[in-house]
Assembly symmetry: C2
Homo-oligomer: 360 residues x 2
DNA sequence: TCAATCAGATGATGCGCATTATTAGCAACC
DNA sequence: GGTTGCTAATAATGCGCATCATCTGATTGA
């Protein structure tokens, strides 16, 4: 086992060439009129094989190359793991993809927290530089920081749809709209007509998309949209009964478990009297919690797809060719904004509508 | 927003000093006979504050400094989060500690897998270098690789006790011995006398420790140790009844859930007829699974403590002082090998022994 | 008065790599 | 025979930082 690390210079010496030649061979060469004969190339490759040379990522990065390190930054105040039920799956997907890509993952756990959200400023900028590109997680992004990333042409990909910014931000999101539409379809197929939307107004993308999906689907079926502002769970339960809903859709962050409890406390059964569909997975799966019907967000896949996309963007940035001298195909606009299907979850909180006043 | 990154040279220019001076100020200076006046120091610090300068980790690392990056390597074939019930909590703890320390975490997801376990060789060595030190996870470490780490004096810490290697390997483990002893104590306190150990023979540390704990405790109480080799769950259930055990202890990887099912299928209740104590948490918590009694492994804390220890080791390696000119205290032997208490879990699978032939 | 000491800093160097500019050798052409 | 053109490579440079060796000017000691 060698004491000192093996460098390109060592390899060069063994192959009887210059360090530069080794670098060219490793990078598929040909930046400008540089040519390496096939024979020399082979000699270098042999030397690399024999010595077991591997590039020092720090040096690569410093010299303006790629380090095969991709970063993960989050805007949440505490690193995603803490809210592990929600963020864990993203990271699992990211790690799987990283293994496939042969890339290391750098978690920016050091970024300072200000105003309850993590910032990229100051400390952040430089640290980002160790990674070839970065995945961005969490709702509360900071516009100025994003602008800087765009300005400096630093490759990044959002996890979660970003509609706000006219197509400049690459992202991999989930199709909350489509998922919600299908839930309404489902309810209608079960004979429901009075279907309420329970939730908080919000400007976050998932909420906007759920509302849009609800609106669209209700309109399609010629039904009236009815929103119930969630303030107090008990009050909301009363309202649901007052309005004689036979079904409601609700986002997972809006305490569906407690809501169902309240309904049952009022002598109604879920789904016997009221069907409840969840627009996403439960955030904090309770021991012995209900088996919710609704749709699920493909979080692992989102993580993985985001990393793949990021790696493509990084490759695009680097004007380097593969060994056939061709550049990989450029990233298309379609790739830049991916929205993944949210599969339906059968569950046990949906049933046929009780025949009510609106029944035929 | 500056286009080009701010370097020490920029800061130096602003403060009217040389780049070297800036570096000295940042590192608490004084490598050899170098002195910086308080006034100059302040000027440099001001310039840093104004420019918002931050060190480029790649450059720091290349120049032999610290990058404030700590690595996580695993010997498992797939990266830990994938088997997230077991490994997830370690990473949670690690991330929390990283936030506290202001350090980024590098996951070595790129390390190649050979023979079903991940290796550090070739690819690995150089990549490790980006991090100031590294946490090691998983059972199947490779001796040669460890030796190399020791030889090159690369700072690392194992998560999980490492007894095999006479105190040369730093680790943060869990006290399986003590935890197991207490479970036996618990059973004895409940009047149990015929207490079996169900499990597979294994040479992994946790298994060795559980067996040791069982042996010790049984001896202390003057009871006979009885091991049931787990081959087939059904056969094991039969054996438990044959031997008229009133209680068994079992490791979580040995299918406790199925075992209890088998017992109940035979008309025995858990814990009514047979108490079952789990020596650790369930590996794959089942929906609606039993509420196991036993002990839990403080995995998050292990992760966090391991990272703290690693950071101390790294600091120790670097002959650098803090701003008062003192070196932090060296790592003691006690710190080098930490074993954390495994708290008891009350649970619902333990009850008083049914009066049997051994009863008074 | 001249050497010795010391505070306070700076210049130069190298870490390992990517990349640009340059060179050496040789065949072809006028 | 000199110039052009081409292939095949190398020398040199810089990325940003840590660090070693060195330098300057002031103060002290004899």
């Amino acid at each position: 086992m060698p004491r000192r690390r093996i460098t390109q210079t060592d390899v060069a010496a063994m192959a009887g060439v210059s360090q530069a030649t080794v670098s060219f061979v490793l990078n598929g060469s040909t930046p400008a009129g540089v040519r390496i004969s096939e024979e020399t190339r082979q000699r270098v490759l042999d030397a690399i094989r024999i010595t077991g040379y591997t590039a020092n990522p720090a040096a690569q990065r410093l010299a303006g190359g790629l380090a095969q390190i991709l970063g993960v930054f989050t805007y949440e105040a505490t690193f995603p793991r803490a809210s592990r039920d929600f963020y864990g799956p993203f990271l699992t997907g990211i790690e799987h993809a990283a293994e496939r890509l042969g890339v290391d993952i750098l978690l920016f756990t050091s970024a300072p927290v200000a105003d309850g959200r993590r910032r990229l400023t100051r400390e952040g900028w430089q640290r980002l530089g160790v990674a070839d590109g970065c995945l961005l997680l969490g709702q509360h992004e900071h516009r100025g920081e994003l602008q800087h990333l765009l300005d400096t042409n630093y490759p990044f990909v959002f996890i979660g749809k970003r509609g706000s910014d006219g197509g400049r931000l690459p992202y991999v999101g989930a199709d909350y709209v489509g998922g919600t539409v299908r839930q309404i379809d489902r309810l209608v197929a079960h004979g429901h007509r009075r279907i309420g939307y329970v939730g908080l107004r919000g400007t976050d993308q998932p909420t906007l998309d759920r509302v849009e999906g609800y609106r669209t689907a209700m309109k399609t079926h010629g039904l009236t949209t009815r929103f119930v502002e969630l303030e107090d769970v008990a009050a909301t339960a009363d309202e649901i009964l007052d309005q004689r809903f036979t079904a409601v859709v609700v986002a997972p962050e809006n305490h569906p478990e407690e809501l169902a409890d309240e309904l049952e406390r009022r002598g109604r059964s879920v789904p016997g009297d009221v069907s409840v569909l969840l627009l996403g997975q439960p955030h904090h799966p309770r021991r012995g919690g209900r088996d919710w019907s609704g749709f699920s967000v493909p979080r692992e896949e989102m993580g993985a797809r985001a990393l793949y996309l990021l790696s493509r963007l990084v490759a695009d940035d680097e004007p380097r060719r593969d060994r056939d001298g061709r550049r990989p195909a450029a990233v298309t606009d379609a790739e830049l904004h991916q929205v993944l299907v949210c599969p339906d979850v059968a569950g046990a909180t949906v049933a046929a509508a009780a025949p009510g006043p609106d029944a035929p």
